[in-house]
Structures are given as C-alpha cells and as structure tokens.
Symmetry: C2
Subunit: 239 residues, 2 copies
C-alpha cells in the first residue's frame, strides 16, 4: 500500500470515528492521545491527518484547548449590506461582539492609500472580535475618517453596527463598497483574538466603504476562520 494511500485511509478512518461518535457541531473531539488508542499510528501522523481535516473545514482547533467539529458555514452575502448581528441571527445562529480597541491614531501608509489621504492623518481605529454561537470566528480592524465621524468613539461600539451608526447619527449611507479577498495565514495578533494557532488558514476580506457622494469614508480588514464562512454574491458583470 502506498504511503499516501495510508494517509488518506487514516483521514477516512478518523472521520468515520468522529461521525459515528455521535459528535455534534461545536463538540470537542477526544484528546489526541485518546484518539491514538483507536488508530494504531503516531501522534505526528495523527496531527497531520487532523490538519488536513482542518484545511477541508470539517474540524477546527482552538489553541491548546483541543479540536472541535465545525458547525455549518455562515453564508455571507457580500452585497446584501446586512449588519453582522442581523446576518447571523437570520440564519438562526447567535451573534456576539467584543470591542478590543477603540482610539484615535495616525493612518498607516496602507490605510492612507485606501482612504485617499496622506500618511499620518488622524483616523479612528476600532478593533473587534465577533463570535457565532460562542465561537470566535472573526477579527476586524476598522479605520474611519475622523472628519466624517466626529466623536464616534463615544457610542457603544460593541452593541451596534457601524453602518447603522453611520446612517443614524451621521446621515452617511454606504452606497458603494470595494472588496479585496484572499486567503492567507493568521498573524499572531488576530490569532490570539480568535484562540487560533498563528499561521492557520484564514479568509481575508478587505473592504472600503464609499458614501453617497463617492467619498471613501472607512475601510476594514476582516479575518475569518476559513471554515466558518461561505461568501456569496450575485450581480451583473460589467462587460
């Protein structure tokens, strides 16, 4: 039997072991050492197989806490413009937001380029971690133009959607969005916020919001646990 066949077998055996084990989405898997007792292999090989299941999005891990069965992916319609909490709850899941940072700072070169301003111009920086059904799945860094949203830091930024605030308190509607999407590895700041191992695969979504006058008003960098979402989108192509 070729070696790669064995790896494939191990993955299948492991998967059967897990699914027949009457595990439900979000449940913790037995410990690596316990799994070994049923699998006749070594820890490193087992971890390799677990990592592959992780890459496929069937299981995930929380750093030093264990492996878990992945819940179904959240469907995220990029153009629906739905706030996070509404999007999550419309799919019968429970949403939560935690505020990690909120202060004024100087725009980095990247942020400045995106917002069409000079490097070092003051911006509001808001960093949040968001959960679905108690699991941290999203780490977001927002950067807002200070001149568009004066004193926005005074509001309750954990409870309320930013776009909602824009509309209600500042009469700014997001009328155009630009996205950049890609998959990379987690930086260790985002990793620790998501209880994930640094370098684990992540879906990055960078977003720039334009208001009704075409002005770029804010941008954000979203890092999603890659097994937690499926992006959807429907539109007319330009050509």
């Amino acid at each position: 039997m070729p070696a790669s066949q064995q790896a494939h077998d191990l993955r299948m055996t492991l998967w059967e072991l897990l699914t027949q084990h009457t595990l439900r989405p979000g449940d913790r898997l037995p410990s690596e050492r316990q799994l070994l007792e049923h699998l006749n292999t070594t820890r490193i090989t087992l971890r390799e197989a677990l990592s592959q299941l992780e890459a496929e999005g069937r299981i995930y891990r929380e750093s030093r806490r264990g492996w878990f069965l992945s819940p179904p992916r959240l469907r995220y319609d990029l153009l629906a413009g739905l706030p996070f909490h509404e999007m999550v709850e419309s799919q019968r899941r429970r949403a939560a937001t935690e505020l990690l940072e909120a202060h004024e700072t100087a725009a980095s070169a990247t942020v400045a380029r995106r917002l069409g301003m000079a490097e070092g111009t003051p911006v509001y920086r808001i960093v949040r971690a968001r959960s679905i059904d108690g699991r941290r799945v999203l780490y977001v860094e927002h950067h807002l133009r200070v001149d568009c949203f004066p004193d926005i830091l005074a509001f309750d930024l954990a409870a309320c959607s930013l776009t909602e605030l824009y509309r209600r308190e500042y009469a700014i509607r997001v009328s155009r969005v630009s996205f950049e999407l890609g998959s990379t590895g987690l930086g260790h700041r985002a990793a620790s916020a998501l209880h994930a191992a640094p370098g684990s695969p992540v879906q990055r979504i960078t977003r720039i919001n334009h208001d009704q006058n075409g002005r770029m008003v804010d941008c954000d960098d979203e890092y999603w646990r890659h097994d937690a979402i499926e992006l959807t989108l429907s539109a007319a192509p330009q050509s």
Copy 2:
C-alpha cells in the same frame, strides 16, 4: 525561550535565508536537506516552518518537485467579466490552458440544482487546467446546459474563452453571475492537476452564469492555488 518563539524565529530565519539568497519569484528553493545544513534543526520542524510560509502564501510547493518562491498574486476582478487569458495578459503575465476532459454526461444532484434541472439531465462537462507563467494555478470544472450550447465540444476549448464562444456562436450573453466563495482543501483529482499535495489550501470559486433572459446556462467550480490570486470586487450594496 518559549517553544513557539523558536518556531517563529525559525520561520524568520528561513525567510531571511531565502530572500537574501537572491531568489526570484518562481525560483526553486534549495532542497530541504540543504536548508537543514544552515538551520540547526530537524526535518520535521523545518517542514512545519515551510508549511507556515506556504499558508501565508510566500512560498508554494509542487508535489515531490520542491518548494518555490511565490510570484505576486494575480488580481481577479469578479465582476469585470474578462476572459482568463485577457485578464492574465493585461497584468503582463503569460497564460496557458490545457483541456483535461470534454464530454457529455448526466448532471449530478449538485449541478442539476444549480442549473435548475432534474438530476440526470444530460450536460456537457468540460475540465481544464490553467497556468500563469508556466505554473498550474487553476483547476476548473464546467457544466453546460446541452440545450443552450449544442455541439459546443466541436470547438477548440483550450484556445478560446467559453463566454466568448457563447456570445459569438450562440448569441448568449452572460448578463448575471452568482458566486459562492470559500477556502477548502484540494481534492486529489484537482491536486494532481495542479501538481499540488492533496489537502493543500485552496480558494474555491463556484460560479453560475445567467443569460440575458435570466436563464441559468452553465456553472463552474474553480479551484485556485490560494497564493496565486487576490479577488477584487466593487459594487453598490443592495440595502
């Protein structure tokens, strides 16, 4: 020094070693055993570090052939509606397409659902592998409605864009597209077409094309090497 620090150090040391080594994008790295001579660690640890650089998209591997420095990502505008070859060449890269399969078959449940037909209805199945600058980066499976595109298999499907064929030969314009995006692991069919290890991280793009009458005419599943692309998109949100 904590263990994770060492892992991080190794990654940095390795990265410095590579960049100062005057490697250019697409170049092959020294063999794992050669790298070990400079790094004072073991093979497994080294491979762990290489895998992390791979997850970040800085290097990639071709199965049993070695590790390579990643070229810059191709920017893929989802709504531009540009054929692959034009998109690639407009970014001064060289495009190539290889036809892997082209035949009539029965629609699977998934394909049937997407195209709004009954399972088992005949469809054309076209499978292609596409390269940028000689590197296989994309594996695509197309499924076309037979009634929309009779005898399309007679055309040269490697040389020509499908949407171009639709328009020129069948007077069908793609006037609406629906996407589903996510990141998963490579299945071993796609993996071997891309010379990649099965289970390596991949950006999946599923696309359903609608014609000018709103009819779903074809769908495709694209599997991109995750370090090869950055998706972009600009549109007005619906709310």
